[in-house]
């Protein structure tokens, strides 16, 4: 190879490299920074990977935008109600009242669901009745629901578009200043997926850094004993840190149903009265309990399973001793079961500054 030919090749290579660098620099401006979920060790060790849609990867800018939107009442028609108004951080992102107050003073008939570990909902069915598939789709509903934010997507996107900050934040997160409902839902879903709770006393016990009291240990045994509490068939076990099966069951609350739950979604009478199993994490913060918030205390919940079951055609066959109206726990067993359940609460979760608007 002659020196002349070598010089020519070097020049071509240099030009090519420079040109590539230019392209990289340009595209970098609108490329959000990947921010994969930090998967807790127990989750990594014991269960499957989280569900992240390929068209909505987690990014720093998307999460940050989602958080801002989650806490911003701009999403409601009269700018008074945010997602966080009914999904409150100190309550593990549920409401502390039985039903939530919409912008027009109207109340629904379901307790707002707590929000955590949502990326591990493998069936991807959201709401108490599973009517929405995918977290992004779930985001759509409250904004236009007449008893919640009672807005329209046209009004919401118009307000966001005229806002001094939002267009630039959407540009940073999604590479466009043109705001639409899909991008709003993607950003909020990204933030919601970061709401990971995995640092309860029981988590620490499983990791070998905490010791359970005798009452908590006994309560766990009652939980896992098919002849006692038999809670594990629906709520999982020490091998499933979600503490829910994310399935739908009729847990014997009523003999007839004013709210059909899953049955209203599928149209199948066999699904009447079925609602999603809630996680038992963070019960210390999530009262009232059940899909309609009918129980104010954990004691009420335990009493229901112990001696309050109501028979119906669709009651789950996993409900035990229905003819005796429940599993008939003693006072001590109830107290121990409660102690164990409270060990699943994670104070660090509700104090996490990443999840707060303060």
């Amino acid at each position: 190879m002659t020196f002349k030919r070598f010089s020519f090749l070097v020049t071509v290579f240099a030009l090519g490299t420079a040109s590539c660098n230019n392209e990289s620099a340009e595209s970098y401006i609108n490329t959000p920074t990947p921010s994969p979920l930090q998967i807790p060790k127990l989750f990594q060790d014991l269960i499957l990977d989280p569900v992240i849609p390929s068209n909505n990867p987690q990014t720093e800018e998307g999460i940050s935008l989602g958080k801002k939107l989650f806490f911003d009442p701009i999403l409601s028609a009269n700018n008074t109600l945010a997602c966080a108004s009914c999904h409150k951080t100190p309550n593990a992102f549920t409401d502390d009242t039985r039903f939530s107050d919409g912008i027009d003073g109207l109340f629904g008939n379901r307790n707002s669901m707590p929000l955590f570990n949502l990326a591990w909902n493998y069936d991807n069915k959201f709401f108490w009745d599973g009517r929405d598939f995918g977290l992004e789709n779930q985001v759509f509903e409250p904004i236009t629901n007449p008893i919640e934010m009672h807005s329209t997507w046209e009004a919401v996107t118009d307000k966001l578009q005229k806002h001094p900050e939002y267009p630039e934040l959407f540009n940073a997160a999604f590479g466009t200043r043109t705001i639409d409902s899909v991008l709003v839902s993607k950003a909020i879903a990204q933030f919601e997926r970061t709401l990971i709770s995995a640092n309860s006393k029981f988590d620490k016990f499983l990791l070998g850094t905490a010791t359970l009291t005798p009452e908590e240990t006994n309560g766990f045994n009652i939980f896992m004993d098919e002849s006692k509490g038999d809670c594990f068939h629906c709520h999982g076990s020490d091998n499933n840190p979600l503490w829910t099966d994310n399935k739908f069951h009729n847990n014997g609350l009523d003999t007839t149903f004013s709210d059909l739950g899953l049955g209203n979604v599928t149209g199948d009478p066999a699904d009447n009265g079925k609602f999603k199993t809630p996680s038992l994490r963070n019960l210390a913060f999530t009262a009232p309990y059940m899909h309609d918030g009918r129980f104010e205390t954990i004691e009420d919940v335990i009493n229901h399973y112990s001696e309050g079951l109501q028979n119906s055609e669709t009651i789950d066959p996993l409900m035990k001793k229905v003819d005796q109206r429940g599993v008939q726990l003693s006072s001590q067993e109830k107290a121990d079961l409660k102690a164990f359940l409270l060990s699943l609460s994670d104070p660090d979760f509700i104090k996490n500054p990443d999840f707060s608007n303060l």
Partner: protein
Amino acid sequence: MKHFHTLLILSLVILFGCNSDSDDTISSVNVTMAFSHYWEDMQVTNSDFNTLNYTNVKGNLLSIERLRYLISDIEFTKTNGETILLEGYNLVDVTNQTNLSFTPYQKILTGTYSNVSFVFGFVNEKNIDGAYNDLNAVSWNVPLMLGGGYHYMQLDGKFLNSNNESQGYNYHAIRAADNPGPNPTFPQDTFFRVNLGAITIAADTEISVAMHIEEWFKNPYSWDLNVYNQMLMPNSEAQILMYQNGQNVFSIDRIN
């Protein structure tokens, strides 16, 4: 020139090596097990669930609301007695109509086999508490106080009891255990190997396996749901009856 010869020899070695591999691949085929479910002659799918459709040999009128079960370790036996184990497991979920067929990642050589079989549940050595993330994620676990590991089957439904009232049953098969607690004991194994008989594999093959659900209630023990209905996991006597009745539950439906 010397380098050229070396390269030529190397190329020939690689070429013949590849041909040899190709021959192996050609004679290795996929085997799929597809599971279908029957109550006597009637096929059962999840659309048949939730109604009192079935009468067992004891006369209990019953429904099915949930059915899922685990199979593992498909094994082929050559005519010379040598066995080929296809590692892996599959959770058949009739309720959600998922995993109704299972193709192990290992292939098998074409030929005639004197038997094909699988394990209902897990052999004890593989029934390791918490070891399988996909099974943990669907809450398939057995409490550690009963030895841990995993369910073999969950068959849930309702039946009309002796008072003519609808009552739930949970026919949950696990490894039989006594003395629940930190040191349970195990009276006998309750997983079992299902032998399906001889088979000739000439190409990719689907073996349709039928589960006859009524057999769980039939033979040798005529299952009375008034006697055994719920809380059967800690009941080793019931577990052993399930094991005995399970021997005649599976058969080959057809081979494609």
